[in-house]
């Protein structure tokens, strides 16, 4: 077979060449600037893995220890760089193991390309060994999906996949590659046109001048304005425009969990995160504002609580790139489909500071001083919040990326770690996938070899992808894990405590004959689970990582420094009590007036 693989630097090929489907896939990845791919081989993806070895000088292939870990690692690359993350798996179980990470990427609008092997086209539909209809499974959780049945379609499909994943509102694209299509070859035309008559991410990409003037007028006449910004501003790379807007107008800023880092947490006008576990001051400010500038956000239920009561008295300006987000949950007075960077840049040209909002800004700052995020600082053990705040202070001057799992530790990290730049905070926010933290950190580390990458995790979430410690060791990725180990599924415990009489229902992670495993749990503050399980230090060392455990507050800082300065991957097992609750808390579907502060 006359398969040729071009050698040397990548550049536009003017002449056609004959290549296999597998080579075309891998070559396109290189051409699109992909530097790292997370790929787990199997029978139906072997040809693509063979191709990956041919391109190993330009494309690093990392073998995760579970396909889900690989796909979250690919997300780690995408979230921390803004570029496409690529994960590859074989057919059947390999493909289904990607599903959670694909759904996660859809909800958080992450540009992810998932490439799966598929059984040969001749046996598709026969329940062949390791056959699953992965495209059918993933229809509702991808931005787009392809089952490629002809090798000649591969160059166009790859081109479209990158285009769709990265333009408009980003999202995951699945490319399902039957094995015979990987092995077939054809003459490749790299300049093949895309066939996407229905995809118009740029139909009305930009706010109209009239809309910009309306928004500027609304700002000028507002007395109590608040900026509510989220993941859309991160994806739109518009953090600088946001900062300029705040500088020009003096409007306080609150961020969604997806938006943390857009505006520096240590600035006076930052109201930090809003929503269910957001700051009291952000939620009070949104409650009382007369103008809500909702930029790159989607009025998620974890932000709004009871929808009709959210920002009830405010005029709402909503800008988003996705038309279907406008008026979906909340009707806006001015709704604009636009690229957010363009809209804010245009706004910055004409906007004036509100005429009369000094009293409001002073009021917001006063609220911030009165209701800070807080915890019992006198306790001589280590509270989760204290561990995170200490880590935040110790890493302030370094290039640091933080990923998290899902649960209490995630919310505390959002509250107590001070983010100053977008894309430095990686959180499964929409889907809320436990087990996200470790692999996401792995991807961020692969993309930023020199940076300090920390997974702040809980013992429940950590164990959902703990096998990636092997990848960290074998691939020499020096990720640090700050394990806030309370032996429980803390967030569910918190809800049990608040709403279900502390009846423990499968929220203890130790053996079932332990006292904590059932019945009414202790509600005494700072209670520790007495017997620790499992031994995370031994596990981490078994995987070849550094590890230590710490319990006393006095030892925390030294332990954190040991972790930070360790040359390889490291797990710091921090023993923490399980009776801490994440506060403030607005119970599901309630309003700011129902906010629990103590």
């Amino acid at each position: 077979m006359s398969t040729t693989v071009p050698s040397g630097a990548s550049h536009k090929q003017s002449k056609t060449q004959v290549m296999t489907g597998a080579d075309i896939v891998v070559h396109s990845l290189v051409e699109h600037g992909v530097e790292v791919v997370f790929a787990y081989p199997g029978g139906c993806s072997m040809p693509m893995h063979q191709s990956l070895t041919k391109y190993s000088d330009r494309l690093r292939t990392i073998l995760p220890r579970h396909e889900q870990g690989g796909a979250f690692a690919a997300q780690g690359i995408a979230r921390s760089t803004g570029k496409v993350g690529v994960a590859m798996a074989t057919s059947g179980p390999g493909a289904t193991n990607l599903v959670t990470a694909i759904a996660d990427a859809k909800l958080d609008s992450i540009p992810l390309i998932a490439i799966t092997g598929q059984v040969p086209t001749g046996v598709i539909g026969t329940d062949a060994f390791q056959e699953t209809p992965i495209v059918e499974i993933c229809r509702g959780i991808t931005k787009h999906h392809y089952l490629v049945t002809n090798v000649e379609d591969v160059p166009r499909v790859m081109k479209e996949a990158f285009h769709i994943a990265t333009t408009g509102r980003p999202g995951p694209v699945l490319v399902d590659m039957p094995k015979d299509v990987q092995l077939d070859s054809c003459e490749v035309d790299w300049d093949v046109p895309m066939n996407l008559p229905g995809y118009k991410p740029s139909k009305h990409p930009n706010a109209a001048p009239e809309q910009i003037r309306q928004i500027a007028a609304a700002i000028k006449h507002s007395k109590r304005p608040v900026l509510y910004v989220g993941g859309g501003v991160v994806n739109g790379e518009a953090s600088e425009e946001l900062r300029a807007l705040v500088k020009k107008t003096g409007i306080p800023v609150t961020m969604t969990v997806m938006g943390l880092g857009l505006y520096p947490a240590d600035e006076a006008l930052s109201l930090d995160m809003l929503g269910m576990h957001g700051s009291a001051y952000a939620n009070y400010a949104v409650k009382d504002c007369d103008l809500l500038l909702a930029f790159g956000v989607r009025f998620d239920d974890r932000v709004t609580g009871h929808l009709a009561s959210f920002a009830k008295n405010a005029k709402i300006v909503h800008i988003d790139i996705d038309a279907s987000e406008l008026n979906k949950n909340k009707v806006a007075h001015i709704s604009v489909r636009s690229d957010i960077k363009y809209a804010m840049a245009e706004l910055n040209k004409v906007v004036e500071a509100p005429e009369d909002c000094a009293a409001w800004v002073a009021h917001c700052k006063d609220l911030k001083a009165k209701h800070p995020f807080s915890y019992d600082e006198k306790f001589d053990g280590i509270l989760q919040q204290h561990a995170i705040r200490t880590l935040s202070n110790l890493t302030k001057d370094r290039e640091t990326y933080v990923s998290v799992g899902v649960g209490q530790h995630q919310m505390w990290a959002a509250q107590f770690f001070q983010f100053r730049r977008p894309r430095t905070w990686l959180s499964s926010s929409g889907l809320g996938t436990m087990g996200f933290g470790l692999p996401a950190a792995m991807g961020a580390q692969a993309a930023h070899p020199g940076a300090l990458v920390i997974d702040i995790d809980g013992d429940g979430s950590f164990q959902m992808n703990i096998q990636e410690l092997a990848t960290l060791h074998c691939e020499k990725l020096p990720v640090k894990v700050l394990l806030l180990n309370n032996q429980h599924l803390g967030m569910v415990v918190q809800w049990e405590d608040r709403f279900m009489g502390s009846n423990r229902a499968h929220t203890y992670l130790g053996p079932i004959d332990h006292e904590e495993a059932s019945g009414p749990g202790s509600t005494i503050a700072h209670t520790y689970a007495t017997e620790r399980y499992p031994d995370f230090v031994q596990i981490a060392k078994g995987y070849g990582c550094g590890a230590a455990t710490v319990r006393r507050k006095a030892d925390l800082e030294a332990a954190l420094l040991e972790m930070i300065n360790y040359p390889g991957p490291f797990v710091l097992d921090v023993e923490v009590p399980y009776q801490e609750h994440v506060l403030p808390m607005i119970p599901s579907g309630k309003t700011v007036d129902d906010m629990i502060l103590k």
Partner: protein, 182 residues
């Protein structure tokens, strides 16, 4: 009091690629939108098909359905036809029990009144074809019910915006001139 649910007819052009119908129906189901009727067919352009949806909802819901449809990559365009002056048709084949000559005559009479057509006569049953607006089809079903309906099949609604020519056909014209059956 529940908000008034308006009836809307959406017409979409979709790429002729495998799975597009599954994608659309899956999206509608997973977002909890109720579809009264869905019809799919080829168009004059081999690369695309047309889908016609009849949905009920307030303006906000219908706006969401339209935007969610437009977000599907293989959906080329979506139009809310019911905001225009439009023609709408449904085609039905109905098999009615008619054993005696008297019954058959009675049914034939109704067929004439409704401008339907008998397309097959068996020893015990007749097959009738009828097209027209939903209300007409519904009325015909009710008239046939006493005779005993053995089987019934409908295409679902299809619709088209009227031409700008003021002399174009009106609703009362023979629907068979708007829909070419058989």
């Amino acid at each position: 009091m529940a908000p008034k649910l308006m009836r809307h007819v959406l017409s979409a052009i979709v790429q002729n690629v495998p799975g597009v119908l599954a994608h659309i129906s899956g999206m509608l189901a997973s977002r909890g939108y109720n579809i009264d009727s869905l019809a799919v067919g080829e168009t004059e352009n081999a690369g695309v098909s047309r889908m016609t949806f009849v949905v009920r909802g307030d303006d906000r819901i219908v706006e969401q359905i339209r935007k969610q449809l437009e977000k599907i990559i293989t959906v080329v365009s979506v139009q809310d036809i019911s905001s225009n002056d439009y023609v709408e048709r449904d085609l039905m084949l109905i098999k009615v029990r008619a054993v005696t000559g008297a019954l058959r005559s009675e049914i034939r009479e109704l067929v004439d009144i409704f401008r339907a057509r008998v397309v097959d006569v068996g020893p015990e049953e007749m097959v009738i074809e009828i097209s027209g607006r939903e209300s007409k089809i519904q009325a015909f079903i009710e008239r046939m019910r006493p005779y005993g309906i053995a089987e019934l099949v409908r295409t679902g609604r299809i619709a088209m915006v009227r031409g700008s020519n003021p002399n174009s056909l009106t609703e009362s014209d023979d629907p068979n001139s708007a829909i070419k059956a058989n």
